[in-house]
């Protein structure tokens, strides 16, 4: 270790893919015994820096110093031997092997991993299951357990909590604190400011592929991080929480219902009833696996409900296929962009995809009309299309905007957003909130499930809380503080007017 306690340091790491510069000059200095946040907007180069640190990709320039000595990693395996190991944003377990076989691949012994399985409360997981048969949060924790088993001196957590519900995230934080207490280091990448503030000692901020500052979290607040992330040009758009809601156009909630759900039952969903009116953004809050996914599956026509009714503008509808739902004006923005987009195709084609049913003339696609509507949608959402020839090259936030732009261009009545801002930077999030509110103001209805409770007050008019497959509480947005929502989401109290009563 060097004299100032720096365990890991990088200097001027850069990486480009052809003409696209992913990382210009990544510098980070991580002390032994600290939890160090790596922050930046989407596309700022955080994941690229992590991949360089763990030998997943080779940098074009720059050096990595471990204990003050230069280190080179040809593969994740060699980085792991040197003491750097990462849990990646996307799960890195081989899907067609069992968990036990995945452990064998890295040479992890049961003796080494067992304490960590216990620490992360994974004792019940059947290790002879194929990785692809287990839910993603479980895989992320298993990945973490295995990484911990190699006792890395620097543990890197790349957006691990983005796909984890709050209670599982807490287990990850517990491990991170323990790592710090034992004099090792943790590098944490997260978009959740509260998480970073509560857990980390210092934060390195990246913007446009360059390190723009290091913030001591004990002495300074999140405003400093946000202004660093946004840069001098954008400093004026820095807003405190709640400002988005205040600045939005005054909304007139049209009393006519866009969608009515009556005693819907499917999967985890048990007799859910509520009304979504035109001109409102209705928030859904729930912990992991409380039936919210089933609700969205039914509304988007991806699954037929076991019982109950869906009324669109007063008429009962049965959806056999997403096509039926889209025809009725119900369109879905899923959390996982990869499921909504054609990753290899251009931004234009992705946005135009659902329009082909409308813009055909004698079987040919009317490309001029298509282009006009697509450009309007791109401009409205401020999509960065520089890498637009393939959607997979866009950052996550831009990909999500493409998903929304698709429906803007196609037209819809009700937008179903399932955790649309997962893993997206603050600035893009704000753009998305603003668009949702504008859509509502222009007479559409928006149903928004979010895993981040502060979003409710930022974007919604009303919030429903689901627990155990039922709607257990309803709040107007100004009452829906995080504390209130959290209690209700844990099934601790029944608040507000029960929608079941309201429906009857």
């Amino acid at each position: 270790m060097t004299e100032d306690g720096i365990l890991l340091e990088t200097r001027g790491i850069s990486k480009n893919y052809g003409a696209v510069v992913a990382l210009r000059s990544g510098d980070i200095r991580v002390r032994a015994g600290e939890i160090h946040a790596l922050m930046g907007a989407n596309g700022a180069g955080k994941s690229t820096l992590v991949k360089v640190l763990t030998g997943d990709i080779a940098p074009n320039a720059g050096v990595i110093l471990l204990d003050g000595r230069e280190a080179r990693f040809a593969s994740p395996a060699s980085a792991r031997r040197a003491g750097l190991a990462s849990v990646y944003q996307d799960v890195s377990l081989v899907p067609l092997l069992t968990i036990a076989q995945n452990l064998r691949l890295t040479g992890t012994t049961m003796a080494a991993i067992r304490p960590w399985l216990q620490e992360l409360e994974l004792e019940d997981v059947d290790l002879s299951e194929y990785a692809r048969d287990l839910p993603t949060p479980t895989l992320h924790l298993l990945d973490l357990a295995q990484t911990l088993a190699s006792l890395p001196r620097v543990l890197i957590l790349d957006e691990v909590t983005a796909t984890l519900p709050a209670d599982l995230s807490e287990r990850v934080f517990r491990v991170a604190r323990r790592w710090r207490a034992e004099g090792r280091s943790v590098v944490l990448i997260s978009h959740r400011m509260t998480e970073v503030k509560a857990l980390c000692d210092r934060a390195t901020v990246l913007r446009d592929g360059t390190t723009v500052g290091v913030v001591d979290l004990a002495s300074s607040g999140q405003e400093e991080i946000v202004s660093l992330m946004l840069g001098p040009a954008a400093a004026s758009v820095v807003v405190s929480e709640g400002a988005v809601a205040d600045s939005a156009p005054a909304r007139k909630v049209d009393p006519s219902p866009a969608v009515e759900v009556r005693e819907l039952r499917s999967g985890l969903l048990q007799d859910v009833s509520f009304t979504l009116r035109r001109g409102e953004v209705l928030g859904i809050v729930a912990l992991e696996a409380q039936g919210q996914a089933d609700l969205f599956e039914c509304l988007s026509g991806n699954r037929r409900p076991d019982a109950g009714e869906i009324l669109v503008q007063g008429k009962p509808r049965r959806f056999r296929h997403p096509h039926d739902a889209i025809g009725a004006g119900l369109v879905l923005v899923p959390a996982d962009r990869a499921l909504a987009l054609l990753r290899q195709r251009s931004v234009l084609e992705n946005i135009a995809l659902p329009m082909v049913n409308q813009l055909r003339r004698w079987g040919l696609i009317n490309t001029r009309a298509e282009g006009r509507r697509v450009r309007t949608a791109i401009a409205r959402l401020e999509i960065d299309t520089r890498a637009g020839s393939r959607v997979m090259r866009l950052s996550g936030g831009n990909q999500q905007k493409v998903t929304i732009a698709r429906w803007l261009a196609t037209g819809f009545l009700t937008l179903l957003c399932f955790d649309p801002t997962r893993g997206i930077d603050i600035r893009t999030k704000e753009q998305i909130y603003r668009v949702l509110r504008e859509l509502a103001a222009s007479g559409s209805a928006v149903l928004l499930f979010t895993s981040e409770m502060p979003e409710i007050q930022l974007a919604c008019d009303r919030a429903l809380v689901m627990f155990g497959g039922r709607v257990v509480a309803e709040f107007p947005a100004h009452d829906a503080t995080e504390a209130v929502l959290l209690r209700a989401a844990h099934g601790l109290e029944r608040g507000g007017a029960g929608p079941a009563e309201a429906a009857s």
């Binding site: 997943d56 593969s75 994740p76 395996a77 792991r80 990646y88 799960v91 890195s92 377990l93 081989v94 899907p95 067609l96 092997l97 076989q101 995945n102 064998r104 691949l105 890295t106 040479g107 409360e121 994974l122 019940d124 997981v125 059947d126 002879s128 299951e129 048969d133 287990l134 839910p135 993603t136 949060p137 479980t138 924790l141 796909t163 519900p165 209670d167 599982l168 729930a286 912990l287 992991e288 696996a289 409380q290 039936g291 919210q292 996914a293 969205f296 599956e297 988007s300 991806n302 699954r303 879905l332 899923p334 959390a335 996982d336 990869a338 499921l339 399932f418 955790d419 997962r422 895993s451």
Partner: protein
């Protein structure tokens, strides 16, 4: 609170899960039994002679299928397997002729080594140049096809009788031809240790998800080269088996085995996307695919119609087998995406 998100109810523990995971292979066995029953029903005096022709006829295809399986499991495909078989076949036939059994065996070992190298060459080219393997191996199939014709322009050559008896003879009883023992022995000695060891695990990992395998510490490039090398070895086995089965060398006979080998692995439950399947299914499928045309001839069907029937059979079987996972995946959610909610 967290329990439902992490712990999954165990729907099918133990035996049930074992059956589910090997359902396709078991299905292939059932198909084999069904076709066998049909064969015996139209051919009441089915005896050792028929068993012998079946085994001898199926061996080249069985080896071709095992060769393709090795490559496909690792996430690749090798379109030059038939051409490599042809080269192995003509080299052996040309140089074994008029020699004794010992020379024939030594030559076989050389041919097998050459096949392994040829396979490895495919792998090295595909890995180093990053040209898609389907292109590399298609090009190599022309190269080896030409080489086979250069070595032996028209069918000819031969092999000592003792060598041919390795497939057609019988050590114990006429009901068990040597060929089947040879097939089992080669697969047991070469494939089983790979499958049970770290290399096999790496092979399946690379075929299943290359990025994840890399992050798990698997050496992806060398593993892929290894898959092609083993494929080349089994292709050479196929070429030798072809010689045992026909008694002569033929520069063109091998080429059909590229595509019929792929039919056999598809029928045998190997996923062309990689990472899923084993060698037992394709071997049994090779026997089924050998029996069906023979049966059709016995029933007096036009051989050309036989081709149609065989193709239809493959599509139907694969459709039936694909139905179960399809039904399961339709229930897989789109909304929840990366979460399990």
């Amino acid at each position: 609170m967290s329990a439902p998100a992490v712990a999954r109810p165990r729907v099918a523990p133990g035996l049930a899960r074992l059956l589910r995971r090997n359902a396709w292979t078991l299905g292939t066995y059932a198909l084999f039994v069904a076709v066998m029953i049909f064969t015996i029903s139209i051919h009441p005096d089915y005896g050792p002679y028929e068993v012998r022709s079946l085994v001898v006829g199926a061996m080249p295809l069985a080896f071709a299928a095992v060769a393709q399986t090795c490559v496909v499991l690792g996430g690749g495909i090798d379109l030059s397997i038939g051409a490599m078989m042809a080269v192995a076949n003509v080299v052996a036939a040309r140089y074994m002729q008029n020699h004794d059994f010992t020379t024939a065996i030594l030559l076989s070992v050389a041919v097998l080594a050459g096949g392994t190298l040829a396979g490895a060459l495919n792998g090295v080219i595909a890995v180093r140049t990053k040209v898609p393997d389907i292109v590399v191996t298609l090009a190599m199939s022309f190269v080896w096809g030409g080489v086979a014709l250069l070595i032996l322009a028209k069918p000819g050559g031969g092999a000592p009788d003792a060598f041919l008896a390795l497939a057609g003879g019988n050590l114990f009883t006429p009901w068990v031809p040597n060929g089947i023992l040879l097939l089992i022995a080669v697969v047991a000695v070469v494939w089983v240790p790979i499958r049970l060891g770290r290399l096999g695990l790496a092979l399946y990992a690379v075929g299943s998800d290359r990025t994840a395998a890399f992050r798990r510490g698997v050496k992806v490039g060398p593993t892929r080269v290894f898959a092609y090398a083993v494929g080349g070895f089994f292709a050479a086995c196929g070429g030798l088996a072809l010689l045992m089965s026909t008694g002569i060398g033929s520069p063109l006979a091998g080429t059909i085995y590229t595509l019929s080998g792929i039919s056999a692995i598809v029928l045998g439950g190997v996923s062309l996307a990689g990472g899923r399947g084993g060698v037992m299914g394709p071997i049994i499928a090779a026997f089924v695919l050998t029996m069906v045309p023979a049966d059709l001839i016995l029933t007096g069907t036009d051989p050309n119609l036989g081709q149609v029937i065989q193709g239809t059979l493959i599509v139907l079987v694969v459709m039936a087998g694909g139905l179960a996972p399809l039904l399961r995946s339709r229930r897989r959610a789109i909304v929840r995406g990366a979460s399990s909610g």
